[in-house]
Symmetry: C2
Subunit: 132 residues, 2 copies
DNA sequence: GATAAGGGTTCCAGTTGCTGGAAGGTCAAG
DNA sequence: CTTGACCTTCCAGCAACTGGAACCCTTATC
């Protein structure tokens, strides 16, 4: 399989697949003409990476997960730990965004949004406290 | 004021302040020795930027907001629009993270996390469907 | 006057995860 | 034989910094 076939089947752009090879996530073979040649195994690995990335795992996490995936004597606890740490990161990000959201929503609500220059949003940014 | 004073008062690292000058967000003066010299106005601007960044606004948004802040004939509607667009972005990110969180949590719950190799998390990543 | 500590300066490189573009080789069809 | 769609590599850039090297300036102390 050439790269565009794999791209179509995995939904990953060819550029991304080349990048994954460059950083050593996958090791496709090469044909006599220099083209990358992908096996079914490579296809599975790339689909695996694509799904892990869709769940927000970092590239380094993907590397770890791929390695565990290929290790038939792995302990599921190792996989679970990677997932749990990632869940914590997600929760932290959500909490941070919720905090921003709350403050921002409050400011937006208190801003008239008309042609006058008075603006509680700018006041808050300038003073470090809401004008309400 | 020298850069470390401003850093202490705003909580921004000196490196970040230099970076903000480099990209034209602020224009501190220079002393005869080449040191940056910050006025109270610069201090306010940097504190303003720091708070906007804490609310998740991009550097470009900060540029716009700073410009509106300095424009006494602004319309608050312009500020509100920037804030509303940013709120939408935050909401989109939260939704995406919640989606990831839900899937990940489900997988984690179904994984025994012991010494055996069977792992629904890897199964899902490999197959594109949960094993439950 | 020498020196050492603690400022400041610039410039270059690296981070994460790609993405765009240029320049060029390959291949299959008409 | 040429056209067009592939493929290749390499270089640059995105956001928003951060680290480090190499060097200058200031102030205090001996």
């Amino acid at each position: 399989m050439n790269i565009s076939d794999v791209a179509r089947k995995t939904g990953l752009p060819p550029k991304t697949i080349r990048y994954y090879e460059e950083i050593g996530l996958i090791q496709p073979d090469r044909g006599a003409n220099g083209y990358r040649l992908f096996s079914e195994t490579h296809l599975h690995q790339l689909a695996f990476i694509g799904r892990a990335r869709a769940l927000g795992f970092s590239i380094e996490d993907c590397r770890t997960l791929l390695s565990l995936y290929g290790d038939k004597s792995r302990a599921s606890a190792d996989v679970k730990q990677v997932a749990l740490e990632h869940l914590d990161e997600i929760d932290a990000k959500i909490a941070q965004l919720q905090q921003m959201r709350t403050t921002l929503q409050h400011l937006i609500t208190s801003c008239a949004g008309d042609t006058r220059p008075d603006c509680p949003i700018l006041n808050d940014l300038a003073q470090g406290q809401a004008s309400s």
